[in-house]
């Protein structure tokens, strides 16, 4: 049995930041990651990370409080305001720290960190490094983890927690490289497993952003919060749905319909293309639905950057230019890029407090997989990398303190039981002669989510989706794995993942059907307005074998009364 005081699941931004903090506090810390850490999807984040540094001439009077207000308003008033304030107050220190560790931020004329405008923000507040901010921060944090000598278990998939209900004792994981299943004793476990985009058909997320690991926490009795709030990014490349950063609009890019019209003037006359993502995505979808889109990829609009000029594009947006050339054969210096909304982010996630702690002692979560809540019903661009470093630091500190100077209370029997159970499940899958096949179930789930729990929602379609997901969960019990080899068995891994994905998808659908209002990313055709009297509350989905059981908790308000969101 392997043993560490703190094990962080996931080697992306939040995971590495948590591990660095816990290790700095002196805790024996390890990272267990499905991918080599630098392969994590944090690296695909492009546009930047928000902090009220007030570095630009236009933002001299910016402050963490203004950043918090923008975040709360962007969240359609579902964020916990105390948590939003923590996020924005901690932000400058976390960003300066990244700079001290070597992140190559783009610079102002006087050598400070440069900032660009982003959607839903009152000031140019997004610190950036060209359009590869996530890549550079991810590699820098990996470098810090190397410097601290943090042990990394590369290419391991966590498959179960070892909990006795009162305390968590560690986890069970599958070594992808060897096929072996091992248990890890850990006094504290931090989930930092990223997003769940692959539950949807159209997503900007990586192939490995399946979200199955949220299911691992969920099944261990930890609620998932606000799962119905899913963000669709307005500008993903038609077909592959690879991200075109919001920074493209931050730098002045236009969105055009098939009339050549900047249609955002009808939906957000002041902010135009820089309205928050939920609003821009809905606007694009309306244009497409009403016949003003282009036909490619089932409907799209154009992202036009030509007027920015060659020099600015090469300096500020070189990465997305390369992407559009590689994947569409279109050079954005010369032609507009066809884009459409695609699933991008889950505002919801593993329910945590402001220090990343879950209701299960010894278990923490941070980053996209967690829900504090700082993003409420809609996340602002530039706040996700921020959440990773702020909440990663806080969760790592909390885990480090939780284990410090305490005799380990790990019960090996609990771990052994969990390992036995997980091993039996995997062996059963490998031996199963079940008739159902991964690819069919997975495609049906993803198509259902995109078609029926997408940008616009209504009762009937959502109920059908919920029924489909229930049926898929039943069919999943009869799934068979064709590949029987041990090393790098992708068929096995993907089948295991699908189990968790179906649970997570069902929690999204259940929360969405129940919430009879429109708020942020949850936009209903049958309940078109926000209903603060009845629905200003967080959804908590509790796992049961028959599907999510929902409860609700209040939203924390500090300074700001809910108001209409106009941009």
């Amino acid at each position: 049995m392997l043993k560490h005081q703190v094990i962080v699941i996931g080697g992306g931004l939040a995971g590495l930041r948590a591990a660095v903090e816990s290790a700095r506090l002196g805790a024996d810390t390890a990272v267990l990651s499905l991918l080599y850490p630098v392969r994590s999807h944090s690296g695909a984040a492009q546009g930047g990370v928000n902090a009220a540094l007030a570095n630009m001439p236009e933002c001299k009077d910016d402050s963490p409080a203004k950043h918090a207000y923008d975040t709360v308003k962007g969240a359609d008033f579902l964020a916990d305001q105390d948590c939003a304030e923590i996020l924005t107050t901690d932000a400058p220190a976390r960003i300066y720290e990244l700079e001290h560790w070597g992140v190559p931020f783009s610079r102002t004329e006087d050598g400070r960190i440069s900032q660009r405008p982003f959607g839903g923000a009152g000031y140019p507040r997004t610190c950036y490094a060209a359009d590869k901010t996530g890549l550079y921060i991810l590699h820098t944090l990996n470098e810090q983890a190397v410097k601290l000598g943090i042990k990394v278990y590369n290419e391991w998939a966590a498959i179960a927690l070892a909990s006795d209900g009162a305390l968590n004792h560690g986890l069970v994981a599958l070594n992808l490289q060897t096929g072996e299943i091992a248990s890890f004793a850990a006094d504290a476990v931090v989930f930092a497993v990223g997003g769940a985009g692959r539950i949807y058909k159209r997503t900007s997320n990586a192939m490995q952003s399946t979200g199955y690991c949220l299911g691992v926490a969920y099944k261990a009795g930890i609620p998932l919060k606000d799962m119905e709030f899913v963000q669709f990014h307005p500008t993903t490349i038609v077909g592959t749905n690879i991200l075109m950063t919001e920074g493209a609009r931050g730098e002045g890019g236009y969105l055009l319909n098939n009339q050549g019209e900047r249609f955002m003037q009808r939906y957000a006359a002041k902010a135009m293309e820089l309205a928050p993502r939920d609003i821009v995505s809905r606007s694009i979808q309306i244009e497409v639905n009403e016949g003003r889109g282009f036909p490619e990829g089932g409907g799209c609009v154009h992202l036009d950057l030509r007027h920015l000029g060659r020099e600015k594009i090469l300096e500020r947006l070189p990465g997305i230019r390369e992407l559009a050339i590689s994947f569409l054969g279109i050079d954005c210096i010369e032609k507009p890029v066809p884009v459409q909304p695609g699933q991008h982010f889950i505002m919801g996630g593993i329910d945590t407090d402001k220090d990343g702690a879950t209701i299960l002692p010894g278990v923490y979560a941070a980053g996209e997989c967690a829900c504090v809540s700082v993003h409420g019903a809609n996340r602002l661009g530039g706040n996700s990398l921020l959440e990773c470093v702020v909440m990663g630091q806080r969760a790592g500190a909390a885990a480090g303190k939780f284990v410090k100077g305490k005799a380990s209370a790990i019960k090996e029997a609990v771990l052994n039981d969990a390992a036995k159970k997980a091993t039996a499940e995997v062996e059963a899958l490998l031996k199963s002669s079940g008739k159902e096949r991964l690819v069919n179930l997975r495609d049906e789930m993803a198509q259902t989510m995109t078609d029926q729990i997408g940008i616009f929602r209504e009762d009937k379609a959502m109920r059908e989706a919920l029924a489909t997901l229930h049926a898929l969960r039943v069919r999943y019990r009869n799934v068979g794995v064709d590949a029987k080899h041990r090393k790098f068995n992708l068929d096995l891994l993907r089948t295991l993942e699908l189990g968790g994905m179906l649970d997570v998808a069902e929690s999204i659908a259940a929360g969405a059907v129940a919430r009879q209002e429109s708020r942020g990313g949850h936009s209903r055709l049958d309940f078109k307005t926000r209903d603060d009297a009845n629905w200003m509350k967080h959804t908590r989905a509790h796992y049961t074998p028959d599907g999510a059981r929902l409860t609700y908790t209040p939203v924390t308000k500090t300074k700001w009364e809910p108001e209409e969101r106009k941009y």
Partner: protein
């Protein structure tokens, strides 16, 4: 309808096979389809025992470096169409194979850790707690080298790497140069010592394989030679 194409893929499970075999799959390519999407098509519909690495599918995570028609490339950004009707896909050369297209990267990461791959600073950051200042031209000096995604395409294209277990190789040297060229870094002399040996920059024969096969078009050979100049000058002047 487009003609079908043949993908010939290197297959090996070292637990079972004493030698690799090449298996050919015939597929109907779709417009715009990449090598990676073709591999997923085979995995999902034809042969579920196939193993390969992938994640971001947008050329930024570095997982899917492979040897495709004789050249190291990222499978995710490599379109099928220009490759012709017969495509050969093999694992990255010069690294042990774990299964099919999945190579053992452990020696690569061990070498990476040898060059102290992190910013070394001796002076404290500004007392204000704010950022260190760096001019726009200074920041530009590392523009190319910070783009490295550690995919190991260059590493396994280097013929010198193949000859020597000890040679740090181009990717690791490029990482070292990323810090040597960063005006904020103060570990210069120490880092040049780490790379200034037979197992480091002195072994580079300027064959340029690394630069030619880098999917991010990083001028790796340039970085290695810049460090070599400093090392040689240091030795000539007795400073190293």
């Amino acid at each position: 309808m487009t003609d079908s194409i043949k993908l010939t893929i290197y297959r090996r499970d070292p637990d079972l096979d004493t030698a690799p075999k090449y298996q050919t799959y015939e597929i109907q390519p779709e417009p715009g389809q990449t090598v990676l999407m073709a591999l997923y098509h085979i995995l999902e519909n034809v042969d579920k025992s196939l193993a390969f690495r992938a994640s971001c599918r947008s050329a930024v995570c570095g997982s899917c470096g492979m040897h495709i028609n004789g050249k190291n490339r990222l499978a995710c950004e490599t379109q099928l169409a220009p490759l012709g009707n017969e495509i050969c896909i093999e694992p990255l050369p010069h690294l042990p194979v774990l299964k099919d297209l999945v190579v053992d990267m452990s020696s690569f990461w061990r070498k990476y850790e040898k060059v102290r791959p992190y910013l070394i600073t001796l002076k404290e950051p500004p007392a204000s707690g704010k950022e260190r200042l760096q001019s726009i031209p200074d920041r530009k000096k590392i523009d190319d080298f910070i783009d490295c995604i550690l995919c190991a395409c260059c590493h396994s294209a280097c013929t010198l790497d193949a000859w020597s277990d000890g040679y740090l190789g181009p990717a690791v040297l490029a990482k070292a140069y990323r810090f040597v060229a960063d005006t904020r870094d103060e570990g210069g002399a120490e880092r040049l010592k780490l790379v200034g040996s037979e197992e480091g920059v002195l072994r580079c024969h300027t064959i340029f394989n690394c630069t030619e096969e880098c999917p991010k078009r990083i001028p790796i050979t340039f970085g290695i030679q810049e460090m070599k100049k400093k090392v040689v000058w240091g030795k000539l002047t007795g400073k190293m």
